[in-house]
């Protein structure tokens, strides 16, 4: 759910997050970039929960219009504690959100509290635009143990935490039972292997190929496809600040998709560009779609909703899925930091998180508040997405994620389509990605 279910995927979509609180203890203002905005957060400020007569007026920037209602409910809860704090919610569509935020950061006018995602987090943290969470954690107002560990890691930079996840999403397989039945292929149960997945996909394509139905689909969205298989192969995308694409494990993860396309188990890359995998699936032309938990919203309005069941991703060398989530962060430049942090802490609380989950659009990050998500489609076994937390790995990010994401889009299709050997493509990708990472 994240951004808008209909637009196929740009990666950051994700989820939302948790909240957090914070305060500064030092953040080292390091890094150059004289950009005026951030700075500062020096060691002088200490976190403390404000008195309830605190008066302030906060701006809270988010990108998902569909969540505004539940956010307003959260804020109403917050105002029971702090009646004199006004919060205005500012919604900017995802596409423009980051452009706007960058401009605001450059001019020192960041909103007091705002949503952050994984791909952009390090950029802002490394330029000292975010207020650390350390104070709230030390004061015991936020306990990182209540949230998925890989998400806490995602929002930690140089060992300092900046954001508490507000929600999360994991990847699993959305399967169309009607297509399995029609193809005469049993719906897999429990954990399964790469080989079993590949042969299931190929069987469905063979059985129903004359109707234009495919077993499964690759695609150019790493979060829902090749990042998962790279982790499953025991590899990673970035290791110690360098690209890991030229490792045998990552190459195996990429090769997985080449094999799937070659066997006819998936439409070709060209087909998937014209008609994206989620469109194939909601049109009833795809047996298995690798998708995020956010896809539930788009799915529940589609014709195939009643036939859908979630399956765990297959296991390669190990079991893995990619997790991502949005977090709430406080601007280091906010002049009402105490109030902003109080709101950040409140949004991360169990009560607020449960309220968010019941509103139904996202999976809240606070452990134990996620039942509403599973109950929203009782026949689809959505528990799979929560169980995936046990083996979830964070979305790979760096300080300049978008830059090497563009390289992936440029180079990987040649590997998937078999036009060039996986080894050559990934070696070139790793070299160019290292250049970009070094500049970052």
């Amino acid at each position: 759910m994240t951004t808008t279910g209909t637009r196929p995927a740009r990666r950051p979509r994700g989820a939302l997050a948790t909240t957090v609180a914070l305060l500064l203890v030092t953040t080292a203002c390091g890094g150059g970039s004289g950009s005026g905005g951030g700075g500062g957060g020096g060691a002088s400020e200490e976190y403390s929960a404000p008195d309830s007569d605190l008066s302030a007026s906060l701006t809270y920037s988010v990108w998902d219009q569909t969540q505004v209602d539940s956010i307003q409910q959260n804020i109403a809860g917050f105002q029971e504690q702090y009646p004199d704090v006004d919060v205005s919610v500012d919604v900017t569509p995802f596409g423009e959100y980051w452009t706007k935020l960058q401009t605001q950061a450059s001019s020192g006018t960041l909103p007091d509290l705002f949503w952050m995602n994984g791909p952009n987090f390090q950029l802002y943290a490394s330029n000292d635009f975010l207020a650390p969470l350390t104070g709230a954690v030390e004061a015991g107002d936020v306990d990182p143990a209540n949230y998925p560990e890989s998400l806490i890691d995602l929002y930690t930079y140089d060992d300092v935490e900046y954001g508490v996840p507000k929600d999360f999403d994991t990847i699993a397989i959305w399967a169309n039972r009607a297509i399995f039945e029609q193809a005469g292929v049993p719906v897999p149960e429990g954990d399964w292997t790469w080989e079993e997945f590949q042969s299931t996909a190929a069987q469905i394509s063979q059985a129903l190929g004359d109707q234009g139905v495919y077993g499964a689909a690759g695609g150019m969205d790493g979060q829902t496809t090749y990042y998962d298989t790279i982790y499953q192969a025991g590899g990673s995308v970035i290791e110690d600040g360098e690209s890991a694409y030229d490792t045998p494990e990552a190459q195996a993860g990429i090769d997985f998709w080449r094999e799937l396309i070659e066997s006819g188990g998936s439409p070709t890359m060209a087909q998937l560009t014209d008609t994206t995998a989620d469109q194939w699936f909601t049109s009833g032309k795809l047996g298995m779609y690798w998708g995020g938990s956010w896809f539930r919203a788009a799915l529940s309005d589609s014709a195939v909703a009643d036939d859908v069941v979630a399956l765990p991703l297959p296991t390669g060398q190990e079991q893995a899925t990619v997790i991502h989530g949005v977090s709430n962060v406080v601007a280091a430049s906010s002049d009402q930091k105490q109030a902003a942090q109080a709101l950040q802490v409140y949004l991360a609380s169990e009560d607020a998180q449960r309220q968010l989950g019941e509103a139904g659009s996202v999976i809240p990050a606070y452990t134990g508040t996620q039942d509403a998500f599973v109950a929203s489609m009782p026949d689809a076994d959505l528990q799979v997405f929560l169980d995936a937390l046990d083996y979830a790995q964070p979305l790979p990010v760096s300080e300049n994620t978008a830059e090497w994401n563009a390289l992936e889009v440029e180079l990987l299709p040649q590997a998937f389509s078999g036009a060039e050997p996986v080894e050559e493509v990934t070696t070139e990708l790793a070299q160019r990605m290292d250049t970009v990472l070094a500049e970052g």
Binding site: S106, P267, M269, A270, D274, A402, A406, V409
Partner: protein, 316 residues
């Protein structure tokens, strides 16, 4: 267009002052009024157009940080740019697009002449029909064409299939993609070109055609010897405007191809290249250098066009 008019004025100036010093006086008597009237416009252009040009030129000599702040790096950006294969590929793509869209001008002349035929019924209906694409949002147009071009389920390949042709995946095949975008560009610019040409046609006195007919000139001869020459100012205007607009191709390409398209790198335009550098890679200095190159190309092209026009107008 300012330069051709102001140049003769300057040349005439000495003569004017020779015969009457008084000629200048009205200006002086007007005091600050001319400035006052022209001021807002000039200020607006200066602040929002000229100053950014100067700034961009400066940025192109710097290496910039994501959140502002830049360090002077001389011609580094340009050195890197001229060895970047993407520059030449995107330039070639832009030229292909411009070439295809320019084909729209003769088509527009032909169609507008047809619409201008005396006694044509439903003329305004046709005019609306052709003009509609121009008023439609490029993104909306792009969405519709995406569906038409869809390789598996698109209208185009369906129709081609009826006559036994197996169409490619238009928007995801390198080579085909830029052509597909160009055709949409041609189609959506046709309406505007036709309106301009139609206005030009209305300015041709009907007597010319009557006289030509009396002299026994054929329809085609009339078109070639009366219509085309007298339309040349309109055609020239279209030429300049179309070339400038084509060099700025971005939204249509972005909306039709999307940003996860395997054919994108082979199909990007100059402005897309600029966008990629400035807003994806956050390399604003490099992007500024690309912008300066685009600026120079458009400037030179337009200057050459004006040159040619002078010769062409005198010769004709």
């Amino acid at each position: 267009m300012a330069s051709p008019t102001s140049a003769p004025a300057r040349r005439r100036a000495p003569r004017a002052s020779a015969d009457a010093g008084g000629r200048r006086r009205p200006l002086r008597r007007d005091g600050a009024w001319p400035l006052l009237f022209a001021g807002p416009l000039v200020a607006g252009i200066a602040v929002f157009y000229l100053w950014p040009v100067v700034q961009t030129a400066w940025f192109s000599l710097t290496t910039s940080e994501v959140f502002g702040g830049a360090t002077f790096s001389g011609l580094d950006n340009y050195r890197q740019l001229f060895t970047d294969p993407l520059l030449y590929r995107s330039l070639a793509n832009t030229l292909v697009y411009t070439g295809v869209v320019l084909l729209g001008i003769p088509i527009a002349v032909y169609l507008a002449s047809l619409l201008n035929l005396p006694g044509l019924r439903f003329a305004s209906f046709y005019r609306v029909l052709y003009f509609l694409p121009y008023v439609a949002m490029p993104t909306a147009v792009a969405m519709v064409w995406r569906v038409i071009y869809n390789g598996d389920f698109g209208l185009l390949n369906y129709v081609l299939g009826l006559v036994g042709i197996d169409g490619p995946y238009w928007i995801s095949t390198p080579g085909a993609a830029i052509l597909a975008v160009s055709v949409v560009g041609l189609w959506s610019s046709l309406g505007f070109s036709m309106i301009v040409v139609a206005a030009g046609l209305k300015n041709i006195p009907p007597e010319y055609y009557e006289a030509a007919e009396l002299d026994g000139a054929s329809r085609f001869r009339q078109f070639r010897s009366i219509t085309v020459p007298l339309l040349s100012p309109s055609i020239f205007f279209l030429l300049v405007v179309t070339v400038i607009a084509s060099f700025q191709l971005f939204d249509l390409l972005y909306a039709i191809l999307g940003n996860a398209n395997p054919a994108l790198t082979q199909s990007m335009s100059l402005v897309y290249f600029f966008y990629q550098a400035g807003f994806v890679s956050n390399d604003k200095g490099y992007a500024a250098a690309i912008a300066m190159v685009i600026f120079a190309i458009i400037g030179v092209t337009t200057a050459v066009q004006f040159r040619l026009q002078r010769r062409w107008a005198q010769g004709g």
